[in-house]
Each structure stands twice: as C-alpha cells, then as structure tokens.
C-alpha cells in the first residue's frame, strides 16, 4: 500500500476514533447507513452567508422555520460526507451546499467561497481539485475534493504512525479549503 494511504479497515477504525471525539466536542458528525449496506459519515452545518462564512447558526429551528415570504437566501446548508476511496486507498470528502429553497450551488459559486488563501494557487487546478461527480452511495451529483494527492499529503504527516488519528490529521488539513473547520478541541482530545 502506498505511503500515506490506509486500508479500509484502518479507515473505519479511524472514523470510530473521530466520531468518539465528535460525540464529546460538537456532536455534529454521524454515520449514515443505507438500505443496501453502504455507509458514510456526514455532517450538516447551516451558515449565514457572509464574505467568509463565519457565522454558524446553532439554533437550527430559527434558521429553518421562517415564513416563506422571508426565506433568507443568505442562509446556506453545507453538507459534508466522508467516504473511503477504493481506488486511492484514502478518505474522500464529498460536499454540497444549498440555499433554503433547496437550490444547489454551482461549482462557480462554491469556488467563490474557497478562502482566498487557497484560491490563488488552485485557480489553475480548480477543475481537477474540486469537481463534481456521482456520489458513490447516493448516486446524485456531489462536489468532492479529488483524492489523488491525499496520500502524498498524508505520508508526511505525523498521524501516519498512529492510524487512529488519520482522519483528524487529514480533515483538519483539507477541510478549511471548503469551509470545514475543526475546533481546536479535536487536537487536544486526540491525545498521543
């Protein structure tokens, strides 16, 4: 197995460690089981859209139950899924963003939300880096961070020696590109 990659068993072991942390920190991640036996890991976040997406809405009821005539188009729902890539033997991050009336954001609109930090360098690679494909479990279009370089990124990170921390190491490094920021507590409780 290439350096920086993990087996599917190691992936799920690391997911369990990750979900244990989540249950203590923000309780936002969960495993979704489907009828055909497939499973993936999911988080949903509702954000008031500002320039830099800094205001998560904690009280979901107030965001959802607005009158139809006052649907706030600036409130976005970000959905993140973690799956295992058999081809690359690494985790993959799938995501979609939709407005309150259910409209999915386009790749261009998603691109505008990538922090400036990453935009400059990724501008040439954007179509290969964030692209859209059929979700392996759900079968509908989702955006994803292409996994082809994940092993390269991970082979030099400390977590490779303890595979239980792989998911935290990977997600904390790549998540911010698409607005997924893990709180510091994940690092503190992920004790070595």
């Amino acid at each position: 197995m290439a350096a920086g990659s993990i087996s599917e068993d190691e992936f799920w072991n690391s997911i369990i460690s990750f979900l244990t942390l989540s249950s203590k920190i923000d309780r936002k991640w969960m495993i979704i089981d489907t009828q055909n036996g497939a499973r993936y890991v999911k988080k949903t976040e509702i954000i008031k859209d500002t320039e830099n997406k800094e205001h998560p809405i904690e009280d979901e009821d107030s965001a959802v139950f607005q009158g139809e005539e006052s649907l706030d188009q600036s409130i976005l729902t970000w959905e993140y899924h973690i799956l295992y890539s058999q081809s690359f033997s690494v985790p993959v991050l799938y995501f979609n963003v939709h407005t309150q009336n259910g409209k999915l954001l386009s790749l261009d609109e998603i691109w505008k939300k990538v922090p400036e930090t990453y935009q400059e360098r990724l501008s040439e690679d954007r179509w290969t880096f964030i692209s859209q494909q059929e979700h392996p479990v759900l079968g509908c279009p989702y955006f994803y961070l292409h996994p082809c370089h994940t092993a390269e990124l991970m082979k030099n990170t400390p977590a490779v020696t303890d595979k239980r921390h792989y998911i935290v190491a990977w997600l904390s490094a790549v998540g911010p590109v698409v607005g997924l920021n893990l709180p510091l507590e994940y690092g503190k409780l992920c004790a070595c």
């Binding site: 350096a3 922090p115 400036e116 930090t117 990453y118 400059e120 360098r121 990724l122 690679d125 290969t128 880096f129 292409h146 082809c148 370089h149 390269e152 990124l153 082979k155 030099n156 990170t157 400390p158 977590a159 303890d162 921390h165 792989y166 935290v168 190491a169 904390s172 490094a173 790549v174 911010p176 920021n181 893990l182 510091l184 507590e185 994940y186 690092g187 503190k188 992920c190 004790a191 070595c192």
Partner: protein, 121 residues
C-alpha cells in the same frame, strides 16, 4: 531523495513547543509565545529553532514566515500540526493554540507539488 522517483518532492516536519513569556502584567495581552521548531521526517533543520511570536499571530502567518525563512517557493506549502495529528485552521491565533494545549508540540509539513502545494496566508 524519495523512493517514488519524484525527486522534486520534499517534506518537512518541524515541531514547536510553546511557553508563554509575558513581558509585564500590564502588557499581558501582548505577550509573546516562545515557539520551538524541531525537524521531523525529511524536514530541513532550521538554524534558528526558537522564535518569540505575538500571541495574536495566526497559524497561517507562522506558515508563511517559515516559508520565507527557509526560502521556499510559492509552489510549496506548509502545514502545521499540533499534538502529532491536528492542523489548526490558518486563521487560528497562536495564543488560542497555546491556551488550549499549554505545552504544545507542533509539526510542520511542506508539500511541494500538486494541488496541496498552496500558500497558507
């Protein structure tokens, strides 16, 4: 340098430890934090390992600083990890990291190629 034939790839891991050194009680909010960098893996050794960093400086700033110090190119990128396995977001303040982890061990990874070779500012 690496076995996979991609000789231009390089990686760098550096550890930092943090100790708080307030200059005086009245300036406590501007206290600097001592950051100690240690190499790991293929990382080049930094000649000066210990740096005093304002606690309000962000992780992204530290990464950029390291890039400049090591004369890395715009194509290279730096990832900073604490506690062996967690990368704080680039906009996290160093002071927050110290407050959370107290004695912090930070590792830095540099990626030279591919889409992850990007500037952290």
């Amino acid at each position: 340098m690496s076995d996979d034939g991609n000789e231009s790839r390089d990686s760098k891991n550096t550890e930092t430890e943090e100790k708080s050194s307030p200059t005086s009680p009245s300036h406590a909010v501007e206290s600097k934090i001592d950051v100690l960098l240690k190499p790991a893996g293929d990382a080049p050794i930094m000649k000066k390992k210990k740096w005093a960093v304002d606690r309000n400086k962000r992780i992204g700033w530290v990464g950029e600083f390291i890039k400049k110090y090591l004369k890395l190119t715009a194509q290279d990128s730096v990832f900073l990890y604490v506690n062996q396995s967690f990368a704080p977001t680039p906009d996290t303040e160093i002071g927050s990291v110290f407050d959370k982890f107290l004695q912090t061990s930070m590792k830095m990874t540099k990626i030279t190629e591919g889409p992850w070779a990007t500037s952290l500012t």
